[in-house]
């Protein structure tokens, strides 16, 4: 089923939020405000908003090291996210997780993840939980092309298939595993082909077109809710920046970069919305202004937050054991 107008508008808002959040993160990283790693979702904004548009609030997602987009799309709080990127006490993870470990259990966000492919197994667990608890929730599992060579990918697709788990496997094929292009890390072109190996549907779509992603995911979610099992959806897209901020990505051919920049999902989708009468330019400008303010507010919020007390480092390892604070 195609997206209706309200859904189309909502996807634009989520896409814009991600684009602005990530652009700000890039700038803040360069300014030294953000510590550690920042793997940005720039260029891939059409995917997570379209996937999450098909989900309910009580559905689950698993994410990746490139997780900001997934979390924002599933309704993650921008203030808490930014505060976590700043390493502050009031951030999502109280300053203990950072960019790669943001989670929000109440919103079904089972965590960004620093280990490539790890979320695939966790998504199976969420799917198993749904089956045992007899609800009709689903879990959307995001991962990149690089992770499809991990054992977790194969173990998880097999398990989800044989147990008919309500999981939608969303492969964001941005064509690079760090510096290694897809044609160098696997001998197939369409990762969706791998669905056949596990007896599940495998669909490849234009990952820079939220409407194409939406349609594929809508069908996969319906299938999952009906207890018919998982689907593999490959969204072909492009990582506009390096693997992480600070990576100049000299390994990417200039022509390739230029060709994909011409397919940038943001202007492309805005143009579609205006041309098809879904939103006026004025409405788009209003969304852009509102989102810009949300991001400015998140940065201001984060900047005003305190760092955690050092002794808090020993808390939350366990539910019931506080580790020893050592004499220094």
């Amino acid at each position: 089923m195609a997206a209706n107008k309200e859904q189309m508008k909502d996807m634009y808002v989520r896409m814009r939020r991600i684009r602005d959040f990530e652009s700000a993160a890039a700038r803040l990283f360069a300014e030294g405000k953000i510590y550690g790693f920042a793997h940005l979702y720039l260029g891939e904004e059409a995917i997570a908003p379209a996937v999450c548009e098909c989900l309910r609030d009580d559905d689950f997602i698993t994410s990746t090291h490139r997780g900001h987009g997934h979390i924002i799309a599933k309704g993650g709080d921008l203030n808490l996210m930014m505060a976590e990127l700043f390493g502050r006490a009031t951030g999502y993870c109280k300053g203990k997780g950072g960019s790669m470990h943001i989670a929000d259990r109440d919103k079904g966000i089972l965590g960004a993840n620093g280990i490539v492919g790890a979320g695939q197994c966790i998504a199976c667990g969420a799917g198993l939980s749904v089956k045992i608890r007899k609800t009709d929730q689903v879990c959307a599992c995001f991962f990149g092309d690089g992770s499809t060579n991990q054992s977790t990918f194969h173990e998880s697709l097999n398990l989800a298939s044989v147990w008919k788990l309500p999981v939608v496997f969303v492969c964001e094929n941005n064509h690079y595993g760090i510096s290694m292009s897809q044609d160098r890390h696997q001998a197939i072109k369409d990762i969706a082909d791998r669905g056949a190996a596990y007896g599940i549907p495998g669909v490849a779509v234009d990952g820079n077109d939220p409407l194409a992603v939406f349609e594929a995911v809508q069908a996969a979610v319906a299938r999952a809710r009906e207890g018919k099992g998982p689907t593999l959806i490959e969204c072909k897209t492009y990582r506009q920046h390096g693997h992480f901020e600070g990576d100049p990505a000299t390994y990417k051919p200039k022509e390739e970069q230029a060709a994909w920049m011409a397919k940038d999902p943001m202007p492309r989708y805005a143009k579609f919305l205006v041309e098809n009468g879904v939103m006026t330019q004025a409405e788009i400008d209003a969304v852009d202004a509102k989102v810009a303010k949300e991001i400015d507010d998140a940065i201001a919020f984060a900047d005003a937050q305190p760092f955690a007390a050092e002794e808090s480092a020993v808390v939350d390892v366990y539910s019931d054991i506080v580790e020893e604070v050592r004499d220094r």
Binding site: R105, C121, C124, G125, C139, N158, Y318
Partner: protein, 323 residues
């Protein structure tokens, strides 16, 4: 009410009791269903609880542990069985980087109530890839709790507690102990971090767990004939560790032997020894003796396997040397 049970039956009974109480507890792993588990521990559970809750998995250790992680994060209390603790290698990421760290990484906002059952130990001819004692790999990881019962009552009570715990609990089971019968006098949960004095004595403290409790007791019997009295502590829970019980005993005996089945280098026995040396040094009249298996892979042939493992004789030699 007391009952004689095997170690394996006690584990099965404790799992079953909790599964009867809570429909969100599931058991899954390789061949845990109709096959009853490689060692028969879950025999009959498929009939009682059905294939939804007692699930055979494909041979996919990463997906097994990962399914425990994902289901624990979303409302279940899973019990995952690895057929042999040696297969941890294949699923280690899900345990070390996911299960153990999620609560912390996510700022304490996620719960991870899962049990991983880990049959371990040599003495069955399984050789280098089926007979290891890998508990130290897991005690090294913040976020995991590690238990290792030696008798039916402890297996029962610790399993209840492990299932009730909101943290990932690594439940080691010694394969040789499955058929060993013992008296279960209490069917209550046993708190983690509480050791047990299995034999009181005055001269030397032996700190141990698992199958080596029996070796320690055998050594104690033999040494008693020489007028040397051993106090044997079964720590039962490796982390959290009952340091207080060890300290009190060493204060009394002034001597300590740490006995574990692991290959000795880098083992948990080293951690216990260091803890005694750091915290109770003033009580000691001799250096702590640390006994473990040879630092080799587990050999196959029965004579080699026996030679590889620690024995009661090793304890006797160590005790006589320090007295």
């Amino acid at each position: 009410m007391s009952k004689t049970m095997t170690y394996g039956e006690a584990i099965r009974e404790a799992m079953s009791v909790r599964m009867r109480e809570n429909p969100n507890i599931v058991l899954f792993g390789e061949d845990v269903g109709a096959f009853g588990g490689c060692f028969g521990v879950s025999a009959g559970m498929l009939n009682e609880f059905g294939p939804e809750r007692v699930r055979d998995t494909p041979i996919s250790e990463g997906a097994i542990i990962g399914s425990a992680v994902g289901s624990a994060a979303t409302g279940l209390r899973p019990i995952a069985e690895l057929m042999f603790n040696d297969f941890l290698t294949v699923g280690m990421d899900q345990l070390v980087n996911q299960a153990a760290k999620m609560r912390y990484m996510f700022g304490g906002k996620i719960s991870m109530p899962m049990v991983v059952r880990l049959p371990a130990g040599a003495g069955t001819g399984g050789a280098a890839q089926h007979c290891q004692s890998l508990e130290a790999w897991l005690t090294h990881v913040p976020g995991l709790k590690v238990v290792y019962p030696s008798c039916a009552e402890d297996a029962y009570g610790l399993m209840l507690t492990a299932i009730d715990d909101d943290n990932p609990v690594m439940f080691f089971e010694n394969k040789n102990l499955y058929p060993v019968k013992s008296e279960v006098n209490s069917f209550d949960p046993i708190p983690l971090g509480k050791g047990k004095i299995v034999r009181a004595g005055d001269d030397v403290t032996v700190v141990t767990y698992g199958r080596q409790v029996f070796d320690a007791l055998e050594a104690a019997n033999k040494l008693a004939a020489d007028g040397i009295s051993l106090e044997v502590i079964d720590i039962r829970s490796l982390y959290p560790l009952d340091e207080a019980m060890i300290g009190e005993s060493v204060d009394k005996t002034h001597h300590a032997v740490v006995l574990t089945e692991e290959t000795r280098r880098g083992g948990y026995g080293g951690e216990i020894s260091a803890t005694i040396a750091e915290k109770f040094f003033d009580s000691l009249d001799a250096p702590v003796a640390r006994i473990g298996s040879l630092d080799t892979p587990v050999p196959f042939a029965p004579n080699l396997e026996k030679y590889y493992m620690p024995s009661p004789q090793d304890v006797i030699v160590a005790v006589k040397k320090m007295m």
